[in-house]
């Protein structure tokens, strides 16, 4: 006889899949349809007009997509590198140094984006980075570094470094250990941190708006503008563009790492 928890588990999986697929399906329909009013199951008319706004002449979504992608990639890379070093340093620290380090990493994660943006705004203006893409990058990097530092703090707290010790006594200097042992052994974690940092940047609205002063146009800002303006088809297209790249990146990463062996000593 099938137990109740087993039945629940069986029932929950299709529900989970449905809850993930339904919004995407609705967005897909909305991006190619118009005149879609309740209680109609499908849009009244179909057209690809909004998709031409991605690549066509005078398109707004395309450049915004590129700006978002560039910012996300740069933020992910910077946050990955910073997080790895900061996380390992905090993990190696003891006592109050560790508490302060972990607290400093947690602060940009815990602070609401608007509060963070307000705090960063004055600093960026003072540094001459107001309303520039570099300023937006700096604003994105701050919370992203918080996430990746906490991520690596967890990893380095349980990682004992036995392989690195072995490598050193076998004759590897610090740089060789990093290049030949740590990075190859941790490339799964490094890729995950890159993706984490990129996703933090990818979805930013408040920080982009404040640091960019409205002149740096990213995909989330375009989508919000379309929503406010009632251009539902363009908003749906932009939303799909917001969803697809992270999903694709995640899928590609899983594919790339499918043969990576995790070997405990």
């Amino acid at each position: 006889m099938t137990s109740v928890p087993a039945m629940l588990r069986r029932g929950l999986l299709p529900l989970l899949l449905l809850s993930a697929a339904m919004p995407l399906a609705i967005l897909g329909l909305a991006s190619i349809g118009s005149d879609w009013f309740f209680p109609a199951l499908l849009p009244g008319t179909f057209s690809l007009a909004s998709w031409r706004n991605v690549v066509g002449t005078g398109a707004l979504l395309g450049p915004a997509l590129l700006a978002s992608a560039a910012l996300a990639l740069a933020t992910g890379l910077a946050a990955m590198v910073f997080g790895a070093f900061a996380g390992s340093a905090i993990a190696a620290a003891t006592g109050w140094r560790r508490v302060i380090g972990a607290g400093a990493a947690f602060l940009p994660v815990a602070a609401p984006p608007v509060a963070l943006a307000t705090g960063l705004h004055a600093t960026l203006l003072g540094a001459g980075l107001g309303s520039s893409i570099v300023g937006v990058f700096v604003a994105h990097v701050v919370p992203a570094c918080g996430y990746t530092t906490l991520y690596f703090l967890g990893i380095f707290t349980v990682r004992e470094g036995g392989h690195e010790d072995a490598a050193r006594t076998l004759g590897a200097g610090r740089f060789d250990v990093l290049r030949r042992v740590t990075i190859p052994m941790m490339h799964r974690e490094l890729l995950e941190a890159l993706l984490l940092g990129a996703i933090v940047s990818w979805g930013q609205v408040a920080l982009t708006l404040v640091a960019g002063g409205g002149s740096v146009r990213t995909l989330p800002l375009e989508v919000i503008d379309y929503l406010v303006a009632g251009q539902d088809q363009l908003a749906a297209t932009g939303s799909l563009l917001l969803v697809i790249p992270p999903l694709a990146a995640f899928g590609l990463m899983r594919l790339a790492l499918r043969n990576v062996e995790l070997v405990l000593p």
């Binding site: 072995a166 490598a167 006594t169 004759g171 070997v263």
Partner: protein
Amino acid sequence: MTVALRLDSMAVNFGSVAGLTDVTLAVARGERVVLLAPSGAGKTTLLRAIAGLEPVVNGSVVVGGRDVTNDPPESRGAVYLHQTPMLFPHLDVAANVAFPMRLRGIDRDDISRRVSELLASVQVSELAGRRPGALSGGQRHRVALARAIAANPQMLLLDEPLASLDPGLRQDVRQVLTRTHLDGTGMLIATHDLDDAVLLADRVAVLLGGRIAQVAPAEELFRAPATVAIAAFLGIPNRITGRVEDGAFCSSMGRLPVGGAVPHGPVVAVFAVDAVTVATGDEQAGVFGEVVELHRHLRHPSIIVQCGSVTLEALAPRPVPSRGATVGLVIDPSVIHFVPGTDDA
């Protein structure tokens, strides 16, 4: 002797507290010294400090005649092998063994030839293309040993190499270690296992109380431990406190004539289980007592006999006497070792 390793009054902390206070030891090239100590005595800390992975607070570390006390791990010429073989999971077996040679920029062909030799020497040639995850525990140890030898070190530091292995694999790795004889390299093997120490060591160094308490060949160590604490750690059960006066050892068990250079004054008579046998009809029992316990060791069953205030452990005769039986014991005086002082172990 050509020295591979010399430690002079070396001190190493356990975290922020004093740990190893005064470690002095020498290991010759080609010699295998076992560092024998109870768990928590600082074996790992000492090996890591020699390798440069822990800071040395005082004293010096000399490897291959060169003072390396302040050198980084990569330039000490001492390879540290962790209890569990730390093979690099992203490299196959051949690449793991080649790792130290690649660091030194050795020619590819020479590396390939040397890797083949080393894998053959530890009998894992057929595993060259496998990843560490596909190896058994014993195979991993063999590969780790080959990789360590590939670094051509002055000293090999092996930290409890048999501790995490089941009996079959222990035997396997033991054989590899006993067959591995490197003329130019000294080996220091840390263990808390007495059997491993006896089987692996040219000499045994006992680490107790933060210092090397005694260094001797295994047989000598078990026959003549330098202190009562060492005797207790070695599991020598028979320790009788008394005094040596006028050529005899006087204790609560009576007088036992002793010859040779025995220290006068308070001493502890130390002797192994096999020095005490149960008297048969033909022998003259020196002492009588009541059997209070039977120890069912697999190889050498023994009995615990209460002789007044003294407890002795003796080899069990056949048939094994029952608990409560009175037996006469014969102690072989030639194997009794006298340690000056009292039994405070």
